[in-house]
């Protein structure tokens, strides 16, 4: 079930120990163990879930340290044939783009498991959470289209049950809506995947293959077919992100999900879609992605503004956080579809940092709900006086979510806007409004909830417990650390992102690469010129201009 640590130490170089399969199999084995432990042993389940998820988390952090910085290609690659008739294989690998999402998954699940209490059906709750973890890991690691699809669909089922069985209020409606929306996307994606593989085979000859890397390198399909196939993928990813107007499942699902479900949904599941756009949009179908960029940028900006406006109007604290996710992921779309190194790097940074900050926000809102059994902003007031530490923690997380410089929300949004400004200027200009709105809705919500007089019902609001503090402490540390030192991520993702933009540049004729070189510390780029810029990134992956 767990991995012998000596094996890890003995690992000489990245290939000796199959760490990527271990990342998927460890939680899966944990789920199996839970399945076979009799239901009456209530106390065992949380421990099994915690143990296996922590082991997976440690493995993912080990992956981070073993990852070869400065390498653009896939590392730790495993390729095991599965359905040879169709050329499908368990091809797993990690590069600078997926690395941090894997680590995010590894970190957020143990925290979600620790941070939320559940009172009924304990066995299946932890079982489903571990299946979800395995599935999420699989999505980020898969380099085979069918294997990717497999994990992409598998995560649906545990999430459905997590919302439906342990959610609040209108949970069944929310769960069903979530399932059907995602299923709709999935069905079209499978058709697109099959069509892509077949057309690729027609284009280059040889055996049928579903290998992401091979198909992406071949680029053997016609422009028109590529665009249709992109639409198939885009529907699936747009539902998952969610991109306006396919977002309506999200507020329901996030609000009604149990705390751990919301944390995982926000931190990991939404990233399946944005990651999909990077990997299966830009990398796999660069021409079509470039073709669709104006539409995607527009939808991204609409998401930013619309999410922010909706968040402002919410009366329910959790729903507010849910709508803020739509806005944040709009920035990811904006950055990614700017197709610049900065924009994509910014997009990936937001993916990770939104995961940390929003995950933490959902935990805090969950704890407020545990204490007060309400999430209505109007019923909460003056909490700061009763629980100052709780309020302090909330403030820090909220500021990170707003994107205050020095905290982790900032570098991503900055880079995404920077990237977008070079290739999609007016979109970036409109998107900036979203930054202001984010400050508005979050600060306003904070003001109403934590300031003001202590109204009846809130006098005995319990201060942050030690146990809760320990759960959220790693997230707070990350919020500060990644805010002041994002280079730890940028250094590792830089080469892969550069290679990705390079790949788009090679494959798309009418694509013009716009890049800024990093030299100095404080130069603000002048749009359109090949200027220097401020950037937290080191200069080593700077790239000469247009």
């Amino acid at each position: 079930m767990t991995v012998d640590p000596t094996l890890l130490l003995a690992a000489d170089g990245p290939v000796t120990f199959p760490i990527l399969p271990a990342l998927i199999l460890t939680p899966l084995l944990g789920a199996l163990a839970i399945f076979f432990v009799p239901a009456r042993r209530d106390d065992a389940f949380k421990q099994i879930a915690l143990l296996t998820s922590v082991v997976t988390g440690v493995l993912s952090i080990y992956l981070l340290t073993a990852f070869e910085t400065g390498e653009a290609g896939f590392q730790f690659v495993v390729d095991q044939s599965w359905i040879s008739e169709f050329g499908i294989s368990f091809h797993l690998g990690v590069d600078g783009i997926s690395l941090f999402l894997v680590v995010l998954t590894g970190v957020m699940f143990p925290i979600a498991i620790m941070g939320a209490k559940i009172t009924h059906d304990i066995k299946s709750y932890y079982g489903w959470l571990l299946v979800l973890m395995a599935g999420s890991m699989g999505v980020f690691l898969a380099l085979d289209l069918v294997v990717f699809f497999l994990f992409f669909e598998v995560v649906l089922v545990p999430m459905y049950f997590l919302i439906g069985l342990w959610g609040h209020g209108d949970r069944i409606y929310a769960a069903t809506k979530f399932f059907l929306y995602t299923m709709l996307g999935g069905a079209f994606m499978l058709v697109a995947i099959v069509a892509l593989a077949i057309l690729n085979q027609r284009g280059v000859g040889g055996d049928l293959t579903f290998d992401l890397v091979q198909i992406a390198q071949n680029q053997a399909i016609s422009t028109e077919a590529g665009r249709w196939i992109f639409v198939g993928f885009a529907i699936a990813f747009a539902v998952k992100v969610p991109v306006f107007p396919l977002h309506t499942w999200l507020p329901d699902a996030h609000t009604e999900a149990p705390t751990a479900g919301s944390v995982v949904l926000a931190a990991v599941m939404l990233k399946l879609g944005t990651y999909g756009f990077v990997r299966f949009g830009l990398y796999l179908l660069p021409e079509a992605a470039h073709w669709a960029a104006p539409v995607m940028l527009t939808l991204g900006v609409i998401g930013i503004i619309y999410g922010a406006i909706c968040a402002t109007m919410q009366k329910d604290l959790k729903r507010l956080v849910a709508y803020s996710s739509i806005a944040h992921l709009g920035f990811v779309i904006l950055g990614v579809f700017s197709i610049t190194t900065q924009g994509i790097e910014g997009g990936i940074l937001i993916m990770v940092n939104h995961g940390i900050a929003t995950g933490a926000l959902f935990l805090l809102v969950g704890w407020i709900y545990e204490r007060r059994h309400t999430r209505q902003i109007s019923e909460l007031s003056g909490l700061q006086k009763v629980a100052p530490v709780f309020a302090g923690v909330f403030t820090l997380v909220m500021l990170a979510s707003i994107g205050v410089p020095g905290l982790n929300g900032f570098p991503g949004e900055f880079l995404a806007l920077l990237g977008a400004f070079q290739t999609a200027r007016w979109w970036a200009v409109v998107a900036v409004i979203g930054v202001i709105l984010a400050a508005l809705y979050l600060l306003w919500a904070y003001q109403r909830t934590f300031h003001g007089p202590v109204t009846p019902g809130n006098e005995h609001f319990r201060e942050l417990r030690w146990s809760e503090g320990l759960v959220i402490a790693p997230l707070l540390a990350l919020i500060v650390f990644l805010g002041v030192y994002p280079a730890v991520m940028l250094d590792r993702m830089g080469p892969s992102v550069d290679a990705l933009v390079e790949h788009v540049d090679e494959q798309v004729d009418d694509f013009e690469r716009v890049e800024i070189t990093y030299v100095g510390a404080s130069d603000i780029p002048e749009p359109g010129h090949d200027d220097d810029s401020d950037g937290p990134a080191s200069d080593e992956h700077g790239e000469e201009g247009e």
Binding site: E153, R171, A195
Partner: protein, 511 residues
């Protein structure tokens, strides 16, 4: 008088005549099965009451015994052609025979307690079931219109009786009557089509028909060819309950004893599909201009109508009936590319058929197990199932997820292979079919999900959550279906190895 003499003289052995060499090994499965069936009848006639307890075990042993020659034939792996090519034993037919036998085995496991505890004739039940399976096993090898028709009647007539097996039950009698009338109506249409086909194809053997139909002068301007093909396909469309020939299915499924419903929905439907495979992939494939649009209409209508009506069902058996109609649509889909992607289409249908048998049978097995407690097939009666039958709930969830097409369960791979066949053909019809199928997959997800929702989230309708004991046979049946559903999803290579029978179609000149 002289004519009579001439006729008599013909009876005298022709000096050049020698007894046809019969390939006993190739026929061994049918022989074992017939012997077993005969033994069941004999035992019933001699021992009557005392034999009752032994009937299911004996029937099961017969089916398992029949698997032995199938295994030896499969190991040998050669293609055997008997009776002048009208009976062919090849890897595909062996796979299908094995499927029918395993399905039959599971249905008997499902029936044992159900029939013994209910008000049913017991001994004849197993005899009829075995006979019907014999028809199916023959169907898997039949490559001749007459052979196909005989197999079809052999498998159908016992099924008509089984549908009406509940003594004095009005719904059961209605089920049997409806099934019978619709069945013979379909047979009449089928026979009419076959006679026309004999006229234009100049033979009852499918390979000869294919040769004749492929001649240039038959390629256009012969409306009888179209008429014959449409009549034959429509005849089988009744059997597989494709829209618009599906009306009998929901009433028959609901009224028949549930194990019989499982048998009809899985084995009988599969047999209809096997017949369609035989006539289309071994005979009519030379005229894709007729076959492809015809199947496009049938497939689109079946999946869409089946799904939309299934959405509104409140009875789980009726829902499965309509979902089965929709699933039949998915299985008809690969026929749409028979002319352009012959091999992939053939293996897609066979793969879907085998996986569908596993998952649908599993779903019926769980429903029979649950009905032992709830005594009802209303969807609402499944409420709170998770709290008192968690194992069955998990199994049912897996079957439903597989029917929905969630990887890595069997149903996913079935859909995947159909999609690869459709898109691999690169025809407009194929692509259109693939998209219609994608939309229908989502519609179907809703009602499968609805059942899962009721089992997991709702409360038991009357608050009764006392656990119920499930007989070993039923648990075994669920287990077999579960293993098959999981294995075909995780290791589909097992199936594709057998279903990728390129040499056969190459020998026939198709593809």
């Amino acid at each position: 008088m002289s004519t009579l003499l001439a006729a008599l003289s013909q009876l005298a052995p022709d000096p050049g005549y020698s007894t046809p060499r019969i390939d006993w090994h190739g026929l061994a499965p049918e022989i074992v099965l017939s012997a077993g069936g005969a033994l069941l009848v004999l035992l019933d006639a001699i021992k009557l009451e005392r034999a009752k307890a032994w009937m299911p075990a004996l029937a099961n042993l017969t089916l398992l015994g029949t698997l032995i020659p199938i295994l030896t034939l499969a190991v040998e792996g050669s293609t055997r052609s008997l009776f002048g090519g009208s009976f062919v034993v090849d890897p595909m037919s062996l796979l299908l025979k094995a499927m029918f036998l395993v399905v039959g085995y599971v249905v008997i496991l499902l029936s044992t307690n159900y029939v013994a505890e209910g008000d049913y004739w017991e001994s004849e039940y197993y005899t009829l079931l075995t006979t019907s399976i014999l028809g199916m096993v023959v169907m898997a090898s039949a490559r001749d219109l007459l052979m196909i028709f005989v197999a079809l009647e052999l498998l159908s007539i016992p099924a008509y009786m089984l549908a009406a097996w509940r003594k004095g039950g009005r719904t059961s009698n209605e089920a049997g009557m409806k099934y019978y009338l619709m069945g013979v109506f379909a047979s009449a249409i089928l026979l009419y089509g076959m006679s026309l086909m004999y006229g234009v194809g100049r033979s009852t053997r499918l390979d000869v028909i294919a040769e004749n139909l492929a001649r240039p002068e038959m390629q256009s301007g012969v409306p009888i060819v179209t008429l014959a093909m449409v009549f034959i396909v429509v005849g089988f469309a009744f059997k597989v309950s494709a829209v618009p020939f599906h009306q009998w299915a929901p009433d028959t499924y609901e009224g028949a004893p549930t194990p019989v419903t499982a048998f009809l929905a899985v084995a009988s439907k599969a047999a209809g599909f096997v017949a369609l495979i035989q006539v289309v992939f071994y005979g009519f494939y030379v005229r894709p201009d007729i076959i492809e649009p015809l199947f496009f209409v049938l497939a689109v209508a079946s999946m869409t109508v089946g799904n939309l009506i299934a959405l509104r069902q409140t009875n789980v058996v009726r829902m499965l009936a309509y979902s089965g109609i929709a699933q039949a649509g998915f299985m008809l889909a690969p026929f749409v590319v028979v002319g352009d992607n012959f091999d992939s289409a053939l293996s897609a249908v066979v793969i879907y058929l085998v996986i569908y048998a596993a998952m649908n049978l599993g779903a019926f097995a769980v429903i029979i197990a649950i009905a032992r407690k709830t005594r009802s097939a209303e969807i609402t009666s499944l409420g709170g199932l998770f709290s008192y039958m968690p194992g069955m709930t998990v199994a049912m969830t897996i079957f439903l997820a597989s029917l929905t097409g969630i990887p890595p369960l069997g149903g996913w791979y079935a859909k995947f292979s159909v999609w690869s066949a459709l898109l691999g053909a690169e025809t407009a019809l194929g692509v259109a079919m693939a998209i219609v199928m994608a939309v229908n997959t989502v519609i179907a997800a809703y009602y499968y999900l609805n059942i899962a929702k009721t089992m997991w989230f709702d409360d038991a309708p009357d608050g009764d959550v006392a656990p119920v004991k499930v007989p070993v046979g039923l648990t075994g049946a669920v287990g077999i279906a579960l293993v098959a559903t999981l294995v075909f999803g995780v290791l589909p290579g097992l199936l594709t190895d057998i279903a990728a029978f390129g040499p056969v179609s190459a020998a026939l000149g198709g593809g």
